[in-house]
């Protein structure tokens, strides 16, 4: 293993480094300290005299990665870190992988917290990095517990040191084993990183011979000859319509798209009992009608861990013209099975729900909140689907808060299992208080979260958990108010749920577009009915919308980059209006499908548009040649082969979207262990980051072009 030149020079000069403890008298002690002093001087000079090292292939960028230089009782440039009410020991031991020093951490109790040895966060010790580059991090280790994970921090030139991500778990190993994992591309404004191995269970972790080398794959110099599509992408309106007035879309793990309409906001269909579901098969452009047992118009839906679709609630009745009641919610619930293309009725909900949310939890259960009940009033029942029993719990079995969450409240699962209510909702004002909150189902605790802009004008805004899910940041875009009917706004808010006290902060304004007739929007005009789609390159495509309640479509689309928190405006615009009851979602081939439009005059557009993002015009697509197994487990490393170098891999949960609401949409980073074209994909151990189910696995080529997805099943 190559070492930093300064250390090599010292060794060449016969200067060894002390390992504690060592036998010997006072003179030996002083000699060790003199030697260590030389090393520290060298480290100091590296930091003060030598410019920040430029990354270059194959050079170990770490200072004292072999841990041989020890000062006091710990290796130079390393520090003890962690927290908890545990019993633990850090030690330097001489049973090393090479040389005479290794680090061990032993936890004899682990009621909470973790311990880790990390590179010192200072200019001399923490390795310098280049934004956009990737680095292979390697460590030799033994561990008696699988509860270990490689953890990274990054130094933001403006914000200072902060947590970056966890990379890969280490399997239990009695003899020294090497784990190598590649960092994601270093974010902008990052000049240093610090990393180490965290132990969060009971056991002993020994590490030695850390290394870090620049593994950046150069981007090919591909030419794009597609004109405007190179930068903006392109829309294509399909030469056929959907056979249903659908406002619900669920991408199934067989690649088909379930388009659920129910009565399709048509009282005539409702009166006739004509309820529709169409199964769209994108690669043949064909549809299949699915018998629909109830009016699932404005139901909630989510994929279960086995790939079936849980549907809850729907429409019990349309509003009475005499004003005696509004829309009424159904109590029915069904499971759609892609294997049989049929609905199976399960037990009813506790109450009616017209516009309920649906969020899958890390254990595969589902929580559904909000909507209107059988009497058109707000439903306060918390509905809990127990996946192991395949049924909704009775009202008394589920933890109740008796709070009304509004309609289609956007409830995003956080990494600790709580739900973040983003403030995105459908119809009317936001909730009282700050309009956003964190909800703990287990305890019933609800904590308001401050900072959401104009909370009462976020009606039919859209919120997404920004890529990657590990970052725990949420973006909320646009919105209006169907009651007061102002011009919809351009607001965006970003919240970092990693913060001790998360607070929304204003993001960049949505770009402006044009209204009917090509009239430019004013500087204050934005849009509601926003669709936001996570793409396999880690960006967010936003499209569609309208300025007012079921009126005045806005023709605008842009690309949001989570690494810079900026929009790229001027993406190609869907030529068709996409207002109320419109949706957009990612197809497994990397394109985006949009459909639906239900303006106030009662008409309903069933045209389908397909968007090809710019990445599809940048050159060849990488291919996932093999996947060792489609069945994936948490905390594992899954082997795939690809046909060309790739820079990123991710799981994207397939869409289950309606009314600008898909709180389960998420992009889960898969840190890579790269060995040529054979890649180990390191899966998070935390099912709250990637709830069980089928996912689209994408890899991203060095040219920024994603593969076609391969379906994998995470449980």
């Amino acid at each position: 293993m190559r070492r930093p030149a300064s250390l090599a020079t010292l060794r060449a000069a016969g200067i060894g480094l002390p390992v504690t403890p060592r036998p010997g008298g006072r003179r030996a002690f002083i000699r060790r300290w003199i030697r260590t002093a030389w090393l520290l001087v060298a480290v100091l000079l590296v930091g003060v005299v030598v410019p920040a090292p430029r990354a270059f292939a194959s050079a170990n960028l770490l200072v004292n990665g072999d841990l041989e230089a020890v000062a006091g009782d710990f290796p130079v440039c390393w520090e003890r870190s962690g927290w908890g009410e545990d019993e633990f020991t850090f030690a330097v031991i001489d049973q090393a992988h090479s040389g005479t020093a290794a680090m061990s951490i032993t936890r004899t109790t682990a009621p909470n917290g973790d311990r880790k040895a990390m590179m010192l966060e200072n200019p001399s010790c923490a390795p310098h990095v280049t934004p956009g580059h990737q680095y292979d991090l390697a460590v030799w280790y033994t561990t008696t517990t699988p509860n270990t994970v490689m953890t990274m921090f990054r130094h933001d030139v403006s914000l200072g040191w902060q947590y970056w991500t966890d990379l890969a778990h280490l399997e239990v190993a009695a003899s020294y084993t090497q784990k190598t994992v590649r960092t994601p591309q270093v974010p902008p404004h990052t000049d240093q990183i610090s990393w180490g191995v965290t132990i969060y269970g009971v056991g002993t972790l020994v590490t030695d011979d850390y290394s870090m080398v620049d593994a950046t794959v150069p981007a090919p110099d591909d030419e794009c000859s597609a004109g405007d599509a190179c930068a903006k992408g392109v829309w294509q309106v399909m030469p056929f319509d959907a056979p249903a007035r659908a406002m619900h879309a669920v991408v199934l793990h067989n690649g088909n798209v379930l388009l659920v309409a129910g009565s399709g906001n048509s009282p005539e269909n409702f009166a006739a009992g004509n309820y529709a579901t169409a199964l769209y098969q994108p690669y043949t452009g064909t549809f299949m009608q699915v018998p629909t047992p109830a009016d699932l118009f404005c139901a909630g839906h989510v994929q279960l861990s086995d790939g079936r679709v849980l549907v809850m609630g729907g429409n019990l009745d349309y509003p009475a013209t005499d004003g005696s009641h509004g829309y009424k919610g159904l109590k029915d619930s069904y499971v759609f099975d892609p294997a049989t293309n049929s609905y199976l009725r399960i037990n009813d909900l506790s109450a009616g729900h017209w516009y309920p949310s649906a969020t899958i939890l890390g254990n595969g259960d589902v929580i559904s909140l909000g909507g209107l009940g059988e009497d058109s009033s707000g439903t306060v029942a918390t509905e809990y689907y127990d996946a192991s029993e395949g049924r909704w719990l009775a009202l008394w079995e589920a933890n109740q808060t008796w709070r009304f969450w509004g309609l289609y409240p956007s409830m995003i699962l956080m990494q600790d299992g709580r739900l973040f209510y983003t403030g995105s909702h459908v119809f009317g004002d936001g909730l009282s208080g700050t309009g956003a909150s964190i909800y703990d189902y287990a305890t019933g605790s609800i904590v308001d979260v401050p900072g959401l802009s104009s909370k009462d004008e976020r009606d039919q805004s859209m919120s997404v958990l920004l890529p990657p899910a590990q970052d725990q940041r949420v973006l909320t875009m646009g919105g209006g108010n169907i009651g007061s009917n102002p011009d919809a706004n351009r607001l965006t808010d970003i919240i970092d749920l990693k913060q001790a006290s998360p607070t929304h902060t204003p993001g960049p304004l949505l770009p402006t577009g044009t209204l009917t007739g090509g009239v430019p929007q004013t500087e204050t005009q934005g849009k509601m009915y926003v669709s936001a789609v996570l793409l396999p390159d880690g960006k967010v495509f936003e499209t569609g919308g309208a300025l007012h309640n079921r009126a005045d479509p806005v023709y605008e689309a842009s690309m949001f980059d989570p690494t810079t928190n900026t929009f790229t405006p001027g993406m190609a615009v869907d030529p068709l209006p996409r207002t109320y009851h419109s949706t957009a979602f990612l197809l497994p081939d990397g394109r985006v499908m949009a459909f639906g439009d239900n303006p106030g005059d009662g008409s309903y557009a069933t045209h389908i548009s397909i968007y090809s993002p710019p990445y599809l015009f940048r050159g060849g697509r990488p291919q996932i040649l093999t996947v060792a197994s489609p069945e994936w487990s948490y905390g594992s490393t899954q082997q795939v082969t690809v046909d060309t170098p790739v820079v990123r891999a991710a799981l994207i949960r397939p869409a289950a979207v309606t009314h600008s609401s898909d709180p389960n949409q998420r992009y889960v980073e898969l840190p890579m262990s790269v060995n040529g074209n054979s890649i180990g994909l390191n899966v998070t151990s935390n099912p709250n980051l990637a709830p069980p189910g089928w996912y689209m696995l994408f890899v991203l080529g060095a040219n920024g072009v994603p593969s076609v997805a391969t379906w994998v099943h995470l449980t």
Binding site: P21, W33, V41, L44, G72, D73, S81, W83, E85, F88, T89, F90, A91, I93, S104, M118, T142, T143, P146, N147, F153, G160, W161, Q162, Y163, H169, V172, A174, N265, P267, P319, G323, G326, S377, G378, V380, T401, Q415, D416, G417, F427, G428, S445, P450, G483, N485, D487, K498, A500, S501, H548, N549, R550, D552, G600, D601, Y634, S636, N686, N688
Partner: protein, 176 residues
């Protein structure tokens, strides 16, 4: 030895001597290097805004021995069948604000007056005459016509005043 090398040697020697003195003073000190409590949660990566992230750097005099004498720190026994790790859950944002006070089970329906934002006193149930016209609209019927509406049946009260001739048809031919 060239003059340059001589200068570098002197500088290195002086720096080494200084570092040695500092180290000796540090090594004989009984004060801990870090002062963060071993039990203080650090949110393991809570986004620190200072120059150093709060990783809860523990004190050498923390709640367990850290003197390096632990022979037991060596892995003991052979590894068993590879086991799946338990979920690693960060303790981000554990104490964000005060919980809202509990709410009792409602004894009356929870109103949702805005409904779907439409005045269903006009037209067909799937049509949506807005409860309130957008800013700047002074002629509701003109706005409705421009947005694809034809004459609308009035069911009950003409709340928006779209049927001034009161023939039961809003925005009809006699409602100029």
């Amino acid at each position: 030895m060239t003059r340059e090398r001589h200068v570098v040697g002197v500088v290195l020697g002086a720096a080494a001597a200084t570092a040695l003195l500092v180290l000796l003073a540090w090594a004989t000190s009984t004060q801990p290097r870090a002062t963060v409590s071993a039990t203080a949660p650090d949110a393991t990566g809570s986004a620190a805004t200072g120059s150093t992230a709060d990783r809860s750097t523990m004190s050498p005099d923390g709640s367990a021995a850290t003197d390096g004498t632990a022979g037991s720190a060596q892995p003991t026994g052979p590894a068993t069948t590879p086991a799946a790790p338990e979920p690693f859950i960060q303790n981000f944002g554990p104490s964000a604000g005060m919980p809202l006070p509990p709410v009792a089970s409602p004894t009356a329906p929870v109103p949702f007056p805005v409904g779907d934002g439409c005045d269903h006193g006009y037209g067909e149930p799937n049509q949506c005459v807005p409860l309130q016209f957008p800013p700047g609209v002074t002629d509701g019927c003109a706005w409705l016509r421009a947005h694809g509406f034809g004459p609308l049946a009035v069911h009950g009260t003409d709340r928006l005043g779209l049927d001034p001739n009161r023939d039961g048809v809003a925005c009809g031919t006699g409602d100029a």
